[in-house]
């Protein structure tokens, strides 16, 4: 419990900064929506005929930008990227920092086992992630309800935020696993951000070419896309299963490797 409190304190400042960032993103994005004039019906119809690669380049990616929820769908992509960065940095940092700041000896001579340490750190990160998600959820709901003239937004936003939460957890455990596996603590952050950037680039490339569709299993950014959720299709079960397996696997990797890890001080 002490470790959890300690970690929560240690990450408080960065959580506040990230929350302000998320708040600012949603507020400025939705604020822009208010000042935009909606596109006509024919344009939307035309957009549906357009190949996905063209839509990607035209910058609309199939969202109906005239509705508040459609516009929010476009923002959602950036929101997930932002919270994933937070998660991956948090995950790799919370494990790697003991070696980086040369406090590993201090922590490990305490009468707690390594698995207790990992569990405490995981719990603290999960709380951080949940709080950031809650900030995003509340801000989104309050802004959307202001702009969505009569549209039903609550259910869609809830589902979108659940998808985002899974994404956050996936990247969190990618971070912890990278930090547990990598011998050099300093490189863990770089490795995990490398993975994140690669996943992001792959998701962009998939938008440009339908032949790369098969790669969508390889990048979490494609698991819970705003489009189908807003259309009422809900979260995709296949991807839910893949995410769960991925998360369990990476948690196992974190525990197993951290138990055996040689501390490099």
């Amino acid at each position: 419990m002490n470790i959890v409190t300690r970690e929560l304190n240690g990450n408080r400042k960065s959580l506040i900064i990230w929350s302000v960032g998320v708040l600012f993103l949603i507020a400025s994005g939705m604020g822009k929506y208010a000042s935009m004039e909606g596109a006509g019906e024919t344009i939307n119809e035309l957009m549906n005929e357009m190949p996905e690669s063209l839509q990607a380049i035209m910058g609309t990616s199939g969202f109906d930008l005239s509705s508040a929820l459609g516009y929010y769908g476009m923002l959602y992509l950036y929101l997930t990227v932002m919270t994933s960065i937070h998660a991956v940095m948090l995950g790799s940092g919370i494990i790697a920092k003991e070696e980086r700041d040369k406090t590993a000896e201090f922590l490990l001579v305490k009468p707690v086992s390594r698995s207790v340490i990992i569990t405490a750190k995981m719990a603290a990160s999960l709380i951080n992630i949940l709080l950031l998600n809650a900030v995003a959820f509340l801000t989104s709901i309050s802004f959307l309800q202001q702009y969505a003239r009569g549209e039903e937004v609550f259910e869609s936003v809830t589902q979108l935020m659940m998808g985002m939460f899974l994404l956050q957890v996936i990247f969190l455990v990618i971070g912890t696993a990278a930090a547990a596996v990598h011998q050099k603590a300093k490189k863990a952050g770089e490795l995990s951000t490398g993975i994140l950037l690669l996943a992001f680039v792959i998701s962009v490339a998939i938008n440009l070419n339908e032949k790369l569709e098969i790669l969508k299993y390889a990048t979490p950014f494609k698991y819970f896309e705003a489009g189908p959720i807003i259309n009422g299709d809900g979260l995709d079960l296949t991807y839910l299963a893949i995410s769960t397996i991925l998360i369990i696997l990476l948690i196992a990797v974190t525990y197993l490797f951290y138990e055996k890890k040689d501390m490099n001080i």
Binding site: S14, I17, W18, G21, L25, S28, G29, K32, S35, M36, T42, I43, L46, E49, M50, P51, S53, L54, A56, I57, M58, G59, M74, L75, Y78, V81, M82, I85, H86, M89, G93, K97, R100, D101, G189, E190, T193, L197, V201, V204, A205, L208, N209, K211
Partner: protein
């Protein structure tokens, strides 16, 4: 000169990794171009069935986007994202690593002035970025002459590609400023990734809503590729803003770095 060479040597591996990643991005995106231009052609035929004025409005923008230059401009956005992360990371790390790795007393007891230290580091960082850009531009030239069926427009390509270097210099200056003001930064990649993505998202919002004032806030939008393709020149006010940021940052950094208290050990 020794310091300059030392820094270059230290960052040799990271320069190499970043250059290769950017080259990989160019190759990946430009390989997608042939299938994209086929998509665009098919869509132009679909467009025949739509009303005349709509065809004119949408068709024109597709014609410019479906060329190699248009497609490259789109992909270039993500290359700029990578480049900006590299530059900001380099900037923060090169001025703060003495404090972080506790080598400041070692360096500052050498018979060199602090401004010599500062400029060696600055020029080493610039050289590293410059080398990355050369490798990048050669890849672009080679790939574009390979995938493009029409005649290649080297001058426009060169103008667009040089904006990568300008953008990197802006982010380098911002990074150095950050590193000098907060020498105690523990995880460099967390700070650089967070701030670069914040600017990037701001840029996406600003370009999807075409907001004039917001554009000054994010260096990502200082250079408009469509404008460059049309006019073969940059937009003057933004070039001035960029230069102002770079020189302003350096002018602010010098006195801070010279007066700063450095804690040894």
């Amino acid at each position: 000169m020794n310091m300059f060479l030392h820094e270059l040597r230290v960052y040799r591996k990271s320069t190499l990794v970043w250059s290769i990643s950017l080259m990989f991005l160019v190759v990946l995106f430009l390989l997608l171009f042939p299938s994209f231009s086929r998509d665009a052609e098919e869509f132009m035929q679909v467009l025949e069935g739509f009303p005349e004025e709509l065809k004119r409005a949408v068709g024109l923008s597709i014609e410019t986007l479906a060329t190699l230059l248009g497609f490259f401009s789109y992909a270039f956005l993500y290359i700029k994202l990578g480049g900006a992360i590299q530059a900001m990371n380099l900037g923060i790390s090169i001025v703060s690593k003495e404090t972080r790795e506790k080598t400041a007393d070692f360096l500052l007891t050498k018979p060199v002035t602090r401004s010599q230290v500062f400029f060696s580091k600055l020029f080493a960082a610039l050289t590293s970025l410059f080398l990355t850009n050369i490798a990048f531009f050669i890849t672009v030239l080679a790939m574009s002459s390979w995938v493009n069926t029409e005649s290649n427009n080297e001058k426009t390509l060169f103008l667009i590609c040089s904006t990568l270097f300008f953008l990197q210099v802006i982010f380098l200056a911002l990074g150095i400023l950050t590193g000098i003001i907060f020498p105690g930064i523990k995880s460099v990649i967390a700070v650089s990734l967070g701030s670069v993505f914040a600017f990037f998202i701001l840029g996406m919002i600003s370009s999807s809503t075409e907001d004039k004032g917001l554009r000054y806030l994010t260096p990502f939008n200082y250079f408009d590729n469509q404008y460059i393709i049309k006019n073969l020149s940059y937009v003057a006010p933004f070039v001035w803003t960029g230069m102002f940021i770079v020189f302003g940052a350096i002018a602010a950094e010098m006195p801070i770095y010279q007066k700063r208290d450095v804690h040894a050990g």
